[in-house]
Each structure stands twice: as structure tokens, then as C-alpha cells.
């Protein structure tokens, strides 16, 4: 009986400790992808790797790289052998859902702020049972041309009449 009690207590303590230490699981909104594109290996698995900088004429014609393009090309971020993954500097492969780790390698301060919810945007619920909506870097910044495009503003308020 005593041993049973001790076992129960230790189990309970373990659970309590684990739940207080375990980080909150954060879910991010799935990355924005052109429909029908993913998985990339559908096409790339059988294609030859071409590392040359060139204008893309057959596929991905919408991509115009404006992201430090003088010192970068596709395979600096996309992995050459497994096109369904992104590649960190140290060679680790990550999923597209974790792309923020790749962005964070250069943009440290923004990455730090983003993890705290300051850079970037959060929506939905911030407490209670409701759904948290956390956006990835790529939801606001196109990774191939990250600068914000100018927007058309909503109409100004109506001026009060002079009469």
C-alpha cells in the first residue's frame, strides 16, 4: 500500500514537473505555397541539378529574386538533394513549416522579436481556449522579394460640411 502511494505520488510529481517545464506547443499557420507546387520532388526528383544563375524560363517564371540576389541563388536556401526541404547554414534540413529558422540565421533581431510576438503578426485568441493564429515570416514577406509592396489606402473620412 505504501509503495503504491509512493508510486502514485512520484508519478503525479513527475507529471506536474513535466507539465510546468514543457514549453507550450506553438502552432503556426501553414506556409503560403502556390497550389499544386508542393511537394517539389514531384518534378525535381528526376531532374538534373543546375546550380547556374539564370533567368527561369520554363517553370517558376513568377520568381524574380530580389533578396540579396548578388550573393545568393536557389540552392543556398533550397536543398539540392531533397527539394522538399530547406537547408540551414550548418547543413541541417528543415521543413517549409519551420522556414523561420532559416530567416532567423541572417535576421537575428527580427527573429527574436518575432518569437515574442512583436515583429510580425498574431491573430485569433491570445488566452483561453480559442485558437491562436501565428503567422510565419513568409506570410508577409515573399522570401524571393521580401520588401513590402505599396498598398492602396482605404478612403479618407468625409469632411464635415462647411455650411
Amino acid at each position: 500500500m505504501r509503495a503504491f502511494c509512493a508510486a502514485v505520488t512520484s508519478l503525479f510529481l513527475l507529471f506536474f514537473f513535466a507539465s510546468s517545464v514543457m514549453p507550450v506547443v506553438e502552432e503556426y499557420t501553414p506556409p503560403p505555397m502556390t497550389e499544386g507546387m508542393f511537394p517539389c520532388s514531384n518534378c525535381h526528383a528526376t531532374m538534373e541539378v543546375n546550380r547556374k544563375k539564370r533567368v527561369l524560363k520554363e517553370e517558376h517564371t513568377d520568381i524574380k529574386l530580389h533578396h540579396a540576389e548578388t550573393m545568393r541563388w536557389c540552392l543556398d536556401c533550397h536543398d539540392a538533394k531533397n527539394r522538399d526541404k530547406l537547408r540551414l547554414y550548418n547543413g541541417d534540413l528543415i521543413d517549409f513549416t519551420e522556414s523561420y529558422r532559416l530567416c532567423g540565421e541572417c535576421h537575428g533581431p527580427q527573429y527574436k522579436d518575432w518569437k515574442a510576438g512583436i515583429h510580425g503578426k498574431r491573430a485569433g485568441y491570445f488566452s483561453g481556449q480559442g485558437k491562436r493564429v501565428y503567422y510565419l515570416c513568409a506570410h508577409c514577406h515573399d522570401p524571393h522579394g521580401p520588401r513590402f509592396k505599396p498598398l492602396k489606402p482605404e478612403p479618407p473620412p468625409i469632411k464635415p460640411k462647411d455650411s
Binding site: K121, G130, E154, P155
Partner: protein, 301 residues
């Protein structure tokens, strides 16, 4: 002698009661029962839970008739251990006014005649510091952001020492325990002292009966927040009281395309607002007035 005085006093009392009655009866006979009930409705903070239920039922019935939708009117009280604050990053705002119209929709504003906005986006010349006198809020270019300008959205700053609350002669506006300044629209007499007292132009007035398209109505409302207002009531930003008390971000935060707007609980050390105040360069508008706003503007170096 004593007998005579007694009768005189009695006479006066009877006479004044008759006069009062004579004045009141035509007053109440000229208005419907509903209007008389509204007139006699108590201040929100003095209502018993039963009275609140009756008022909510009456309002739901009235909104159903007027807008053809079933409303959910909440009277949810402040959540314990919450004290809300707002953050806005000036270096990221592009002045697109998405927040203005998201607020209009969420909070059931009158769309035209009168057109009421709780958020005013000011455009300032870059490099002039915050000189509000030279600001412009009717700007209308084809594309924003414009070169050489910065944008400064202003709404109710939810002051800790709110001048609007101090001047209200009938206590129709007050600060809730979670720091939000609210208005009991039914208690408001429309004197507009609060509008004159507010240094941020945070309050607006219903000069006429509000115009809200039936199909655009938001039926999920709070009694002290976004329920449809009436003519002669003053209204203001409530940090979307109907959302934040359920743990949901305000509408302007959700809609902002650049993530300029931040919201959080000052009593929670892990909240976004605490992070901003600890690590960023923050300032508040017109701090010298001593209004202690809970609306923090900040910017990157």
C-alpha cells in the same frame, strides 16, 4: 397657532405634490411605455443581475426588430488579473486605414450621416518629430506609404487618469477594473463635456440616428462596447471589450497588414506589451498632460 401652521404646511405639500403630478402625467402620457421604461432605467453599475437580464432581453428584442438579427449581448465583467495596454510601432505603420474600417465593421459604427470613426490616422512630415498641429488625416494618395511622411494612428488612449471621466456630470463613463474606459450609452445625456475634455479626440458623438446596413451588422456585442448606439450618445474605442475579455485580439490588431499593432496584459510578465515596454523605445502621446495613457507608441532604431 400650532393647528394653523400644520394646515399651511399640509396645504403646501399637497399643492406641490399636485403640481408635480400635473407635470409628470402629461410627460409620461406623451411617450410610449417603452420610452418611459428607458427613461427610468438605472445606471449600469447599479443594476442587479435580474435588472441586467431584463434590459438585455429588451434590447435583444429591439435589435431583432430593427436589424432582423438575433443579437448576443454580453455583460461579461473584467477578467481578474488583467490590465490591458496597446502598442503601436510607428516605423511600420503605412497609413493604409485598414484598421479604421475593420473597427467600423466590428463595432457597428454609423456608416454615413453621421460617419463615425474611432481611429484617426494622422499623416506627419518625416523628421518633424510629433507635431500634431501640422498633421493631416484626410490624405488620399493612390498608394501608401508616401515618401517623406510617417503615419500616426490615434484612438482612445485608455488613460489611467481619464479627463473625460472626471468631467462627466452624470457618471455615464467610467474606468473598468481592467483599465478600459467605457460608456453607458443609455445613461449618457449627450452634453459632450467628455469630447471637449479629451486631448486625443478619442470620442465621437451621434448627431443623428446611426445608419448601419442590416447585412453588415455584427450581432456579437457587449453592453458597454459595440452594441448599436442611439442618437445623442457619445461613443469611443473600448479596445474591443467584447473580444479582449474573451482572450481575443482587437479587430484593428487582427486586420493590420504590417503587424504594427500590438496588444497585451500589463500584469502578465510574458505578454507582448511587457516585452515592448522592457525592450523598446516607447513614448505616449501628450505625456505632459498627466493623463497616463495605456497606449504605447514605439519604433525601431
Amino acid at each position: 397657532m400650532q393647528n394653523k401652521r400644520y394646515t399651511r404646511r399640509e396645504f403646501l405639500r399637497n399643492a406641490s405634490l399636485t403640481a408635480l403630478g400635473g407635470l409628470t402625467i402629461p410627460l409620461f402620457s406623451s411617450c410610449t411605455k417603452e420610452e418611459a421604461e428607458d427613461f427610468l432605467q438605472r445606471h449600469f453599475r447599479e443594476m442587479t443581475p435580474e435588472e441586467k437580464r431584463q434590459v438585455i432581453a429588451k434590447l435583444e428584442q429591439r435589435y431583432l426588430q430593427k436589424y432582423g438579427r438575433k443579437f448576443q449581448i454580453s455583460t461579461q465583467e473584467a477578467v481578474p488579473d488583467t490590465f490591458w495596454a496597446y502598442g503601436l510601432e510607428l516605423s511600420r505603420c503605412i497609413g493604409c486605414r485598414r484598421c479604421v474600417y475593420a473597427c467600423v465593421k466590428e463595432n457597428n459604427h454609423s456608416r454615413h450621416d453621421p460617419q463615425l470613426h474611432w481611429i484617426r490616422v494622422l499623416r506627419l512630415k518625416r523628421g518633424n518629430l510629433i507635431n500634431l498641429e501640422n498633421s493631416e488625416h484626410y490624405y488620399d494618395p493612390d498608394l501608401v506609404p508616401e515618401k517623406g511622411f510617417i503615419y500616426l494612428p490615434v484612438q482612445c488612449q485608455q488613460c489611467q487618469e481619464p479627463p473625460c471621466v472626471k468631467v462627466c456630470p452624470v457618471h455615464a463613463t467610467w474606468q473598468e477594473p481592467d483599465g478600459i474606459v467605457v460608456v453607458d450609452y443609455n445613461w449618457c445625456i449627450g452634453c459632450r463635456y467628455c469630447i471637449a475634455a479629451c486631448p486625443y479626440k478619442g470620442r465621437v458623438f451621434n448627431w443623428a440616428e446611426p445608419n448601419i446596413p442590416k447585412e453588415e451588422i455584427n450581432p456579437s456585442v457587449h453592453y458597454l462596447g459595440n452594441r448599436p448606439r442611439m442618437k445623442c450618445a457619445v461613443e469611443k474605442c473600448t479596445f474591443c471589450i467584447q473580444r479582449v475579455r474573451q482572450g481575443r485580439y482587437p479587430a484593428c490588431v487582427e486586420v493590420c497588414p504590417t503587424g504594427t499593432r500590438k496588444f497585451g496584459n500589463l500584469l502578465d510578465p510574458n505578454s507582448e506589451m511587457r516585452y515592448i515596454i522592457d525592450r523598446k523605445r516607447v513614448f505616449r502621446l501628450k505625456e505632459d498632460l498627466g493623463t497616463e495613457p495605456k497606449f504605447y507608441y514605439f519604433f525601431e532604431a
